[in-house]
Amino acid sequence: MDNLNLFIRSIFVDNMIFAYFLGMCSFIAVSKNVKTAFGLGIAVTFMLTITLPINYLLNTYVLSPGALTWLGPEYADVDLSFLSLIVFIAVIASMTQLVEMVVEKYAPALYSQLGIFLPLIAVNCAILGGSLFMQQRDFTSVGTALCAGAGWGIGWLLAITAVAAIRERVAQYSNVPAPLRGVGITFIITALMGIAFMSFLGIKL
């Protein structure tokens, strides 16, 4: 029940884009049309869902203070938390490389569309941010980490798809001032949706 609650909250209340503004670079660049946006959203969701549990396990059994006690009582004082940033990013980067190879082999069309942004998933702040939030909030089980990761990923997917849909309509039907076309209006759309999503802040399930 708690996990379900967390899952829903991660999608709407703690939305990665509209509440924390993480992962903006690829978000702005790839939200031109719904199809590509959806593809990247799936990739990010997938990455968050697998890296969060892995990083949770590493954090609990290797990195946090006293985590190495299972090796023997003399390790109880070891605190490796200063290494967490590097360990997290290494896990994320290797997972990204794996996903890149798989996508290149089995979905070349998607690969050429995503272009430089596939390697950039590794530095998508949403994914490292997810792991850092996990560490900060002291999640209690792998299931919790999994639910939060999936929730944040789906929230990101939802946000990028919604904004991509709005951008498609704006490009077709509205007369945006020439200098604001493309990127400029996307910033404003995102900002307005961010303000709208603030209304979810007080919600408790």
């Binding site: 990013i89 020439a178 604001l180 404003i188």
Partner: protein
């Protein structure tokens, strides 16, 4: 000639934030006040210039399949160095910035420049490219922070700029400017001005 354009293009015509749209997250996060924005900009310049040089030096020995991991390790090492230096010599600011210095690792400008420039160019142009892009990023950071701090808190670098008599006459700080969405709108306004001046950058 080429070196000169490598250095000057990122300042305006090929600005990393306005044109390449990289590194937006930190623009939103650290620009509520001027001082952290400036320190953040300087840190990014340092990390970007040196990681560009290092990657450019070893670019021919990196296997393509694991290049991202190699790049991230180089960047992470430099970021840890910068954060240690800041803690030693500018403790107050480093405390304000703590999380965001760590998040330089995931600043897309770094990966973007490493992938697009340092992997294909010699060390000296790569160094210039790093400094140029870092400066372009810092300029935007400072402009956004200037407006947000002035309108949001009525201060610059922590000193009060809006005279007290304004407040007595009923002037109120715009609290909305402190929130992240307004940073997006500020950047959008800068893009608006920038693209009206550079017509060739406008989307059709």
């Amino acid at each position: 000639m080429a070196n000169k354009s490598v250095f000057f293009n990122p300042l305006s015509k090929d600005n990393p934030v306005l044109v390449q749209i990289l590194g937006i997250c930190s623009v939103l996060a650290v620009t509520a006040k001027l001082e952290p924005a400036l320190v953040m900009g300087l840190s990014v310049i340092a990390v970007l210039a040196f990681s560009n040089v290092i990657i450019s030096l070893i670019r021919n020995t990196i296997p393509t399949n694991i290049r991202i991991i190699v790049q991230l390790v180089v960047v992470a090492g430099l970021v840890v160095t910068v954060s240690q230096l800041l803690e030693a010599y500018a403790y107050d600011v480093s405390k304000q910035l703590s999380v965001f210095i760590g998040l330089i690792i995931t600043n897309c400008i770094l990966m973007g420049r490493l992938e697009a420039f340092a992997m294909a160019n010699r060390p000296w142009p790569s160094f210039l490219d790093g400094v140029g892009n870092g400066l372009g990023y810092t300029i935007i950071l400072v402009i956004v922070a200037f407006f947000r701090e002035l309108l949001g808190s009525g201060t610059l670098f922590g000193y009060q700029v809006v005279p007290q008599c304004f407040y007595e006459a009923g002037y109120v700080n715009n609290g909305l400017m402190i929130l992240p969405p307004m940073a997006l709108i500020t950047v959008a306004c800068i893009i608006w001005v920038h693209r009206s001046l550079n017509k060739d950058l406008q989307d059709k």
